[in-house]
């Protein structure tokens, strides 16, 4: 089973869980199974611009995005983009 790790706000929205196991075969399928799927995908089903996803430490952007395949041994980490300034 692949493991998905969530940052604190998403864990809070997932009932306090920051770790999920999945037998999904792609990153997108794995994320859509989560109870916080509507926070990481926008209203058109696209991964939100400031949500970063790393599979075993590698950013999925530019490597197939949410179509990146999982074979069951990976750690998928969801990370909010780092930013400064006044926007938040």
């Amino acid at each position: 089973m692949a493991v998905i790790l969530l940052p604190s706000l998403l864990a809070s929205e997932a009932g306090g869980r920051n770790r999920f196991e999945t037998d999904a075969t792609t990153v997108g399928e794995a994320l859509r199974q989560l109870p916080i799927a509507n926070l990481v995908f926008d209203d058109h089903g696209k991964l939100r611009r400031l949500v970063n996803v790393y599979v075993d430490g590698v950013d999925i952007r530019g490597r197939g995005g949410t179509e990146v395949a999982l074979d069951g041994a990976e750690t998928v980490r969801v990370v909010a983009a780092v930013a400064g300034g006044i926007a938040p």
């Binding site: 706000l9 929205e13 509507n38 209203d43």
Partner: protein
């Protein structure tokens, strides 16, 4: 009976409670940590609290609590159909529906959209009559986006609704939200080539008087207005004691439809309170004249009060409330004659909504 204030901030929701005297306030929170709460309201029909919540990474949603903020339940996916070409940017204002329609709520959002829920906020559907309004191409966003910030339900007719959008103007529906008529006659849009267009006005906040629901008030980018005919025409009311027609919030008296209060700002290019002070201005004669009602407020201040950040309660005498970008919440237990600071050093206040308590 006391008052509960739901104070939405850039960093979560705070609750302020007081007894009927409304002179001492107890602060609780924050809850909804990590969310910017653009507006929160307690449904008078069942006591449930709803929050229009936004996160700069995770987007817009509506949160629902039936235990006054101890726990929250998030709505299912909130969004717009892909064929609309629009994406939801923010959830702005949540409004409980008519008392005869339990479970029905309305949500205004950016970009100029309205949603309806018929299952107590679990799911929301965009209102097509607004989404596909024939004048939409003449709407244009302002500094706050193209935000649908005002949603009002006529208590005397469940089919009559109003919304106001910046900068699109005010719209009325007489058929429960199916169709929407622009109601902007007499309202200036001084920033447009046509100063009195059908749509495009920059309404900052619109309120309906619950005891006289044909009467509407609005604080606009270009003045303060009152309508006595359901928005079909408007009378401009600034001057006669108001230092500026520009401002964002407006408060009304829960029983006397001739009483309203505004907090003017210098102008569109200098958005701070007028004359270097924090001044609330009150009319008791339906806008014919205005008086400064600032007893107890800072006399040296350059404050910013956002459009959702004021409210009034239903007690007698009426309590009035507003919050500042500096993190203060001011309360008046005597209809604006005197004010006290109910909370300070909060995150920037985005919204204040009063509800009965307990």
């Amino acid at each position: 009976m006391g008052t509960l204030l739901l104070v939405g901030t850039r960093k979560g929701l705070f609750l302020l409670r007081s007894d009927e005297a409304r002179r001492e306030w107890e602060l609780e929170g924050p809850t909804l940590v990590g969310w910017s709460v653009y507006h929160a309201a307690r449904d008078p029909r069942d006591g449930v609290v709803y929050a229009a919540a936004n996160n700069w990474v995770y987007g817009a949603t509506v949160q629902r609590s039936d235990d006054l903020g101890k726990s929250w339940e998030r709505a299912e996916q909130l969004g717009l159909p892909e064929e609309s070409g629009l994406k939801l940017e923010a959830a702005w204002h949540v409004e409980p529906g008519h008392e005869s329609q339990p479970g029905t709520l309305w949500l205004g959002g950016d970009p100029g959209v309205l949603f309806r829920s018929d299952d107590s906020g679990a799911t929301w559907e965009p209102v097509r009559g607004i989404l596909e309004h024939p004048t939409r191409e003449r709407w244009h966003p302002g500094a706050g986006g193209l935000c649908c910030h005002s949603v009002q339900v006529d208590p005397s007719d469940p089919n009559r609704l109003y919304v106001a959008i910046s900068a699109a103007g005010a719209f009325r529906s007489d058929d429960a939200g199916e169709s929407w008529e622009p109601v902007n006659a007499g309202v200036a849009a001084e920033f447009l080539p046509d100063k009195y267009p059908e749509v495009g006005q920059c309404v900052h906040k619109l309120l309906l008087h619950p005891r006289q629901p044909d009467r509407l008030w609005q604080q606009n980018h270009c003045g303060v207005y009152r309508s006595d005919n359901r928005g079909s025409s408007w009378e401009r009311l600034d001057g006669n004691g108001l230092p500026s027609g520009f401002g964002f919030p407006i408060m009304i008296h829960p029983r006397d439809p001739d009483v309203a209060l505004v907090i003017p700002e210098e102008g569109a290019e200098n958005r701070v309170t007028c004359d270097g002070r924090l001044g609330v201005y009150r009319t008791r004669d339906a806008g014919a004249s205005w008086e400064l009602a600032a007893g107890g407020l800072p006399e040296s201040a350059w404050a910013v009060i956002l459009r959702e950040a004021s409210s009034s309660d239903g007690l007698d005498p009426a309590g009035l409330y507003f919050g500042t970008q500096g993190g203060s919440v001011f309360a008046s237990p005597d209809e604006g004659s005197t004010w006290l600071e109910a909370a300070s050093e909060l995150p920037p206040v985005l919204s204040v909504e009063a509800a009965g308590w307990p």
